[in-house]
């Protein structure tokens, strides 16, 4: 598997073979598709997050009146979901494809269905359904209404109109679309184990599976998350990151401060996986994270959006405002 892979355009690769798209075809096709809809294609955020929503390109950029459109792949870490690579459907690391558009376009459902066509799903030949599923994140002080999207009974996407983030009303309203990339690709490729997903297929037939790429990671990280991670270090990291976040906010810098929130979240998730957080402490930690996250949103409103987070009034008279 060491031969160089030929970089072939996706469309061509799909044409030359009757085989279903590879994992990376799915990613590249989604990126191409959403780029055509005017989205900024970001690369994954370089900090541990539990979901694509938590990346600052979604959380913070949902706030304020400016138009924003982005799409990105995001690796998500959920330490407690690790199964040492032994469960075909559950891992402590997986990928989401995240789309955020603010304001939500009027034809967003059609745009979404178009994205399914773009990755080879003939929506007319399947049963595609939008099933009520509202979203709430207590740690972010955020909620929205939307659906989970089913294809023939399988949930493949979360679709949400954000109403509030960090306790602030979203105006205009962003729409978030979060695809579970592994699940979607398993469906497209007709495989029953995540590790059997074909990640890439060279024109010479050299193929890598998801298992080739990530099975060892799952084994090692599951062991690390559940058995090895240094809990004293993590408790200390949480406290220090919390202090660093507050200090950074005092300097009026919500973006780097938010990185510390993500570090706190991850430290907490690891401590949780290590089983050292009692139920009562748990609530207290969640509240501490929420306080930080809301403070970052408030600071973002103040320093980036230019709105007094207390009153909601513009901080300074904005140009062009009547």
């Amino acid at each position: 598997m060491s031969q160089p892979l030929q970089a072939a355009p996706v469309a061509q690769a799909a044409k030359t073979q009757a085989l279903p798209p590879t994992f990376q075809d799915v990613i590249m096709n989604l990126q191409r598709y959403w780029a055509e809809q005017g989205c900024v294609i970001l690369q994954p955020y370089d900090n541990e997050v539990g979901a694509g929503t938590n990346a600052p390109a979604t959380t913070l950029r949902s706030l304020g009146p400016d138009t924003w459109r982005t799409a990105y792949v995001q690796g998500c870490r959920r330490p407690t979901d690790g199964r040492y690579g032994e469960n075909p459907n559950r891992t402590q690391f997986y990928y989401q494809f995240q789309v955020l558009m603010k304001p939500s376009p009027d034809n967003i459902q059609d745009l979404y269905l178009g994205s399914l066509r773009a990755i080879g799903i003939d929506v007319e030949a399947h049963d595609v359904r939008f099933v009520e599923d509202d979203w709430e994140s207590p740690t972010l002080g955020a909620w929205g209404l939307g659906w989970e999207v089913w294809i023939d009974g399988m949930e493949v996407t979360q679709f949400t109109y954000f109403q509030q983030v960090g306790g602030f009303e979203c105006s205009p309203v962003p729409v978030e679309i979060a695809y579970g990339l592994e699940r979607l690709t398993m469906y497209i490729q007709g495989v029953d184990s995540m590790f059997d997903i074909v990640w890439s297929r060279g024109s010479d037939g050299v193929t890598f599976t998801y298992g080739d790429v990530y099975l060892e990671n799952e084994r090692q990280y599951s062991k690390f998350n559940f058995e090895v991670a240094d809990t004293e270090f993590l408790f200390r990291e949480f406290n220090e990151r919390e202090a660093e976040c507050m200090r950074t906010l005092e300097a009026g810098l919500p973006l780097p401060a938010y990185d510390s929130v993500l570090k706190c979240c991850h430290a907490f998730n690891l401590l949780d996986a290590r089983g050292v957080i009692s139920a009562t402490e748990r609530m207290a930690y969640i509240l501490r994270v929420r306080t930080l996250a809301k403070a970052c949103c408030a600071s973002y409103m103040e320093h980036v959006v230019g709105v007094d987070p207390e009153t909601g009034e513009p901080k300074r008279s904005l140009e062009g405002e009547e």
Binding site: N89, S104, M154, Y161, Q163, P172, V173, A279, T280
Partner: protein, 697 residues
């Protein structure tokens, strides 16, 4: 039907997928709101019909008048004598009357009615073109639909269940320019998302439904349900099995499709080794499939799914759904087998990972309290050694399944799974059964736990929650009852009423003691009173619901009874006695009320017999006979007999009040009579406060 003066009004609110249950409620609102909005504008109209699918709400109103009717209203005002002063000038009264009708005083006329001159105001309301009013009417209807949850979208400030994407509004063949959320109504509608997307033009209001139907949309919940039931019946006939169609899932499925097609799917028989409840949970709760049962009522490996896709693609759709079921059941089987590797008891210690309530600790803490409380209840019920041990054991294991893989994944099978795991671990049948049963009764009218042991664990669990939440000041308020304390209390009352031989009052004390021992700080006496009052209120509501009169309940409660079973038995007996012999009880209530009002406790109950007259002696004798009988009846728990004894006092007390005047001038006589009445009223004290039932109260 339509003539030149009327036309059909049809409008459609086209949306993104509205949640199933919200859609159901909104459809009914639409009917009422539309009728009321037209009436408020005095627009004559025929029947309002409403239709819906996940992506639309439609109202069709027949025979809407094109013009409102001209109207002349005449109002009579003050008499001329008041309306005009001596000089014949209008008074403030006349001016005010005219202004109130939107007229000036010069517009008033005078007319005589029965010989008296009055002023009259006559107001003309001109006929108006209806089409000019309709946009506002329909916009008001759209805005008035209330949703459990609603959202904004894009740059709009309007709220609706989900984004509104198109509006159709037609009066006859003319578009009504309704505006909402940046949209303006037209004559274009959209069909089924994949089978006939559209847009489709609607020429005339009468054709809206036809156009929608021809675009593969079944626009009514009832019709879709009928289609689903017919499809399910066909599958039942084909397979010789019977489907389970719970109302909630059926409604949800009905409102999750615009063009439903029931299809049959199957899964591998090996999964039938997994407890049925998990499979059914996976199918009903997670996938909204209907399980199929064979002639013996055993679950089969077939199920019904309801597709919203193209019937021509049924094979692909069934195949996809079967893959989802396979993955889910593989998970379930894996979880079940993993769970079975350890005895149920070993999960108990992990209950400290599940929070019961922030201040009250974890489910592990709760388990300890339930064991203590169940032990108390078993002793109170005088259970024998085996049963008593089973009650404590079942209490210890009751919550253990909450941390098993299967219940974490399929929450609705809590209890049931514990029961399977308990049986597999060699617990007694009674313990296993009690674990499954302790969540019962889950709703009003649900079956009670089968055994006394099951009832004791169920009561311990529910009472622990109630006492705990009250002790941290989180009893239910208004419509907010997140821990379902009311339902819990009703469940306990139902078990007590069915004969569970324990004292609620003592159990409340025992429960509060477990919290106090655990270091939860609260005002013991105040919380105790709140909890007992809470049960009394629930019991009263249950009695009212079965038709017992409020004053009957009040009369019983006035005697300081707190045990629900006693309250219920007494209230029913008193209600029955009152309805059998209304005169006696009404009369006795009045007499008692009189005696009660005259009562003077300082005088005691020993009247001077030497100065008594016949009616007084008769009352004294009857009172003493009744007092003795009531005492015995209450000792025997024979409340109806106690009531019968009281009823026998009607004639003597009536005779007494008829013959004598209590407040006699003579001090000795008056004192004797008051003491006699004290003696009479005292018998009622442990039975019921009859004054609550006196009409003149």
């Amino acid at each position: 039907m339509e003539n030149a003066n009327t036309a059909t009004l049809a409008f459609e609110i086209g949306t993104e997928e509205i949640p199933a249950f919200d859609l159901h409620k909104a459809t009914e609102q639409l009917r009422t709101l539309t009728g009321e909005a037209l009436d408020a504008k005095r627009i004559p109209h025929g029947d309002v019909s409403v239709y819906s699918s996940p992506r639309r709400l439609i109202a069709v109103v027949g025979d809407v008048a094109l013009r409102t009717e001209e109207l002349t209203e005449v109002f009579r005002g003050p008499s001329a004598a008041i309306a005009f002063d001596d000089q014949g000038a209008p008074t403030k009264a006349a001016v005010g009357f005219a202004r109130g009708k939107g007229l000036s005083v010069e517009d008033l006329t005078r007319r005589s009615v029965d010989g008296v001159d009055y002023v009259f105001a006559t107001r003309h309301v001109a006929s108006v073109e209806v089409d000019s009013m309709l946009p506002e009417v329909i916009e008001g209807v759209i805005e008035s639909i209330s949703w459990p949850k609603s959202c904004r979208w894009g740059t709009q400030s309007a709220f609706f269940s989900r984004p509104v994407r198109w509006l159709v509004a037609l009066l006859g063949d003319k578009v009504v320019p309704v505006r909402f959320a940046g949209l303006e109504a037209g004559r274009l509608t959209w069909g089924h998302r994949f089978l006939a997307a559209g847009p489709w033009e609607v020429a005339h209001a009468d054709q809206l439904l036809d156009v929608v139907r021809s675009a593969f949309v079944v626009p009514s919940e009832a019709e879709r349900e009928q289609a689903i039931r017919a499809g399910v019946a066909a599958i039942e006939a084909e397979t010789g099995s019977k489907a389970e169609l719970p109302a909630k899932t059926l409604l949800e499925v009905t409102n999750l499709s615009e063009y439903p097609t029931p299809l049959k799917g199957t899964f591998d028989e090996e999964f039938l080794a997994v407890p049925e409840e998990i499979i059914v949970d996976a199918m009903l709760m997670h996938q909204r499939y209907f399980p199929l049962y064979d002639g013996q009522g055993k679950l089969t490996n077939s199920f019904v799914l309801v597709s919203n896709g193209d019937p021509a693609c049924a094979d692909t759709i069934v195949d996809g759904n079967e893959r989802v079921v396979r993955a889910r059941l593989s998970d379930a089987k894996f979880f079940y087998e993993e769970d079975l590797k350890r005895p149920l008891e070993s999960y108990v210690e992990h209950l400290d990972e599940v929070v019961f309530q922030e201040t009250l600790g974890t489910m592990r803490d709760k388990t300890d309290r339930i064991v203590a409380l169940a032990t108390h209840l078993a002793a109170d019920a005088s259970l024998d050694g085996d049963d008593s041990r089973d009650a404590a054991r079942a209490a210890l294991l009751a919550k253990a399944d909450l941390v098993t893989n299967a219940v974490v994944e399929f929450t609705s099978v809590q209890g049931v799974m514990g029961s399977y795991y308990a049986a597999a671990a060699g617990e007694t049948d009674q313990v296993a059964r009690a674990i499954a049963d302790h969540y019962r009764p889950r709703f009003s009218g649900d079956a009670l736990p089968e055994s006394t042991v099951g009832r004791i664990v169920a009561m311990a669990d529910k009472l622990d929650t109630i006492c705990g939440l009250f002790s941290v000041g989180q009893g239910p308020t208004g419509s907010s009852d997140p821990f379902a304390l009311r339902r819990g209390a009703i469940g306990i009352v139902a078990m007590l009423q069915a004969g569970l031989p324990v004292s609620l009052e003592q159990a409340v004390d025992a429960s509060l003691a477990t919290y106090a021992d655990a270091g939860i700080g609260f005002e013991r006496e105040a919380v105790r009173r709140q909890v007992l009052d809470f049960f009394i209120t629930r019991t009263s509501v249950m009695l009212r619901d079965e038709g017992v009169h409020a004053d009957t309940i009040d009369a019983v409660l006035a005697c300081d009874v707190v045990e629900p079973a006693i309250i219920i038995a007494r209230a029913r007996a008193l209600e029955a006695a009152r309805s059998q012999d209304p005169d006696t009880f009404a009369d006795l209530a009045t007499a008692f009320s009189r005696a009660d009002n005259l009562r003077d406790a300082s005088l005691g109950e020993e009247p001077d017999r030497s100065i008594m007259e016949a009616s007084e002696r008769a009352l004294l004798e009857a009172t003493d006979v009744a007092a003795d009988a009531v005492r015995r009846a209450l000792a025997d728990d024979d409340y109806p007999a106690a009531l019968a004894s009281l009823a026998a006092l009607r004639a003597p007390i009536d005779g007494f009040f008829a013959e004598v005047m209590v407040m006699a001038d003579d001090d000795g006589v008056r004192t004797m009579r008051l003491r006699l009445l004290n003696r009479f009223a005292a018998i009622f004290k442990d039975v019921a406060d009859f004054s609550k039932m006196a009409k003149s109260r």
